[in-house]
Subunit: 468 residues, 2 copies
């Protein structure tokens, strides 16, 4: 409700200022922005339709194929040009049975889900002693003998940050934990879900066993269950009693199957001015309906491009890409890059893949010659409550490859305070999306696209910084 | 955090007032109250220990038996007198496999759990068309032909209320839905969980098939899943397409098994002054660890009685009862009443079974001759932020029988705003308990007990009102 009032206030403040009276492009962008903020329904309808009619759409499965068909129909109906699928093949891992229980000293069930590419237990599971660690570093430092044949438990204390900065460091138990545990001879590993909620919904996510690491069963406990296991371990250890767990995880690989990107375009009037590429990913993890991750990002970028299209032909072509297989690193990004690097001149990329809450910050990696363009975009976004950051824009998992190879990027950073409450969990469903904040996203993307697509000056990139 | 500040302010305000300077019993009660508010750890340790070392404790199962043993050990260690078990037998229903999926037109899984006493599907489930209703009344009004052989879905729109008043009217789909659907020949029923959250955790709960109603499979969908099914039904119906669901629910009865109450006492100095009986229930549903429902209520009443005991022998005996089998109506209340109605003179009852959030209201069913006692208790509770209600106290599911037969009762009503987010769901776990609010409960119960147990006047009951 507070958000609605703030957005209404922002809309009221966004009259054409005197400074902009000389800038018809900016005036037009502001008007498009305000119309999106007041009344966009394309993004909501897209998220609602995709998550209701398809639901989960794990990469490489028939559900993701249905999502592609759905998206092609919807994008065609919305009037986009050159709607097409870019298919590719990938190995597909699917989950099976998932159960964890403390056998002794305090018998009870815990809620678990397998991490991507987890190995499997036998159908009836394994039973072993649990050994707990506060971090991957502590696991790494432990003697192999303390780990061998046991079920490793790694916890962490990730907290919610607006900029999502907890996910990198606190994601280590999921990303590195299984490999480290396997190399030390562990029978299996369970980690505290990489998330910030307190619900009985575990968070899955990708991990890949490193070289020399035999796949072992690797699961994530729901956060209340991880806290429960910590209490059980502390109490049992104080009493000198081992904690024994039975774990059943029976995922399997089903072979190589087709995934694909869905591409749609708003053709520009000036082929020489270059192409702007935006988008998000169409696939989701299998536990929720992928509303927040990432039907929202796809819907926001589709809705913004559609608003530009409805307002008349822009100078630059806008290409919207709905990537396949982002969650599992399945190759959508590379496939798109390889198919399109030679076709036209991509001058700017931007990605939406951080939920559906409001954009709070904009970052640029425009060249020095585009200082005025950056200023114009930042001025258009300020009435939406968006601040200008000091970092360089990098796009994300799907479009970052373009930036790393020298293309300019603009990041519209979303508020991530709630994002890891739902991310990769069964709780990623439509009810988590606030329609007013979704519209603010569409407004921000519409304003940015309007300014960039019709910018009279060439769009040039800042030099690429070496990776930190 | 705000709650902590309010409680600190309440504690600071609770100096012995001039009005109380003449009343040593009230002074002593105020001091005991403030000590509980500032530092009670007995209640937290009880909840933490029971939910960690036992976890779920469904009535009549071996887990509930372990909980009784745990409680006997803990109550004995705390120094209570006459610690004993009141055993009884009951039929036991346990859940089996639980899966629901939309087969067409939009294939996807939904999260479901069986309601208590649900019938079973065959192991591989049933598949049928779904027919949806907004209420039990709408289901009741439908022609049998519209229901026969189908899977009935009943939704509702329960909202969170501080006094928990939504649970009665909006609980009808769970309580009456299965019977009504069965009588109309439905193949099965799924209801929107009786809850107020938006997480993928379904809420179970008791229901009993009425006379002439053959047991049919009866489940509760998680609330996001119920909303999803509503969207699917609306869309499919608009397109003239049936919605088909596959449902697997394989609960079964395991026969008659032992449950029991655990009783402990603080002996009074004056056998003629009567006995005060307080408590909550020890059993829980099986999905969570029963922290909120009802380890908290047991812990609050145990901790308050313990504080009275530690402060010296009270005039009246205080009996604390940890009831078995409350969730399933298994007979703990009746067993206790029948075993104790002839032993001593029960003059006052009070029950804590509404979570762990703060007490906001006190209600009495004291006789007119106890007006001053009611005033003294209300004055002791006011510094905790507790208002005096106008309704008559009725105790609850376990001790209400005493009140209905003419014994006085005091209700310390807890804030139920969050209660139905967790109630009967996997999310009922320790992390949902706010230690500061738990201490406020102990403080309120301690103050009430101190005033009532040492009241110099006889405790007399208000006349019993006819049931509404």
């Amino acid at each position: 409700m507070k958000m609605l009032i703030l957005l209404a206030a922002a809309a009221a403040l966004s009259f054409p200022s005197l400074a902009f009276a000389q800038a018809p492009v900016a005036d037009r962008a502001a008007a498009l922005r305000d119309a999106a903020l007041a009344g966009d329904s394309v993004a909501w309808d897209f998220v609602e339709g995709l998550t209701t009619e398809v639901g989960q759409r794990q990469a490489g499965t028939e559900a993701e194929a249905r999502a592609r068909d759905w998206a092609v129909r919807r994008l065609t109906a919305l009037g986009f040009a050159n709607v097409r699928i870019e298919p590719f093949e990938m190995p597909v891992w699917v989950r099976g049975e998932e159960r964890a229980e403390i056998v002794s000293p305090f018998p009870q069930r815990l809620v678990v889900t397998a991490l991507g590419n987890s190995g499997a237990t036998p159908p009836r599971g394994i039973e072993a002693e649990v050994v707990g660690f506060d971090s991957v570093a502590a696991l790494q430092a432990a003697p192999d003998a303390a780990v061998r044949g046991r079920i490793v438990f790694v916890t962490h204390n990730m907290q919610a940050n607006q900029d999502g900065s907890g996910y990198g460091p606190f994601g280590a138990p999921r990303r590195q934990g299984p490999t480290v545990a396997s190399r030390k001879g562990a029978a299996a590993i369970v980690v505290r879900s990489i998330g910030t909620d307190h619900h009985r919904n575990p968070h899955t996510g990708a991990q890949a066993f490193g070289e020399g690491a035999r796949p072992i069963p690797a699961g994530a406990l729901a956060i209340p269950d991880a806290e429960q296991l910590q209490r059980i371990l502390a109490r049992a250890n104080a009493q000198g009693r081992p904690v024994r767990m039975r774990l059943v995880l029976t995922p399997r690989y089903t072979g190589r199957h087709q995934s694909g990107n869905v591409v749609a375009e708003v053709p520009g009037t000036d082929p020489g001015a270059g192409v702007i590429v935006i988008g998000g990913h169409l696939d989701s993890w299998d536990l929720g309906t992928g509303a927040v991750d990432n039907a929202a990002g796809v819907a926001i970028t589709v809705a913004a491009a559609h608003r530009i299209m409805q307002a008349g032909r822009p100078r630059r072509t806008i290409r919207v890409v709905l990537f396949g297989a982002e969650e599992v690193g399945g190759g959508g990004s590379e496939t798109h890059f390889n198919l399109n690097r030679g076709a036209g001149n991509v001058v700017l990329v931007g990605e939406s893949d951080f939920g559906a809450d409001r954009v709070w910050r904009v970052e640029f990696s425009l060249g020095a010659a585009n200082a005025a363009l950056g200023d114009r975009i930042a001025a258009l976004l300020a009435p939406l409550g968006i601040v200008r950051g000091r970092d360089a824009a990098g796009a994300g998992a799907d479009l970052g490859i373009w930036r790393r190879l020298g293309v300019a990027a603009i990041d519209l950073n979303q508020d991530g305070t709630r994002y890891f409450d739902y991310h990769h969990s069964p709780d990623d469903t439509l009810d988590k999306i606030d329609p007013a904040q979704l519209r603010q996203n569409v407004a921000a993307w519409t304003a940015m696209l309007a300014a960039a697509a019709d910018a009279p000056e060439p769009i040039v990139a800042a030099p690429v910084q070496p990776a930190r």
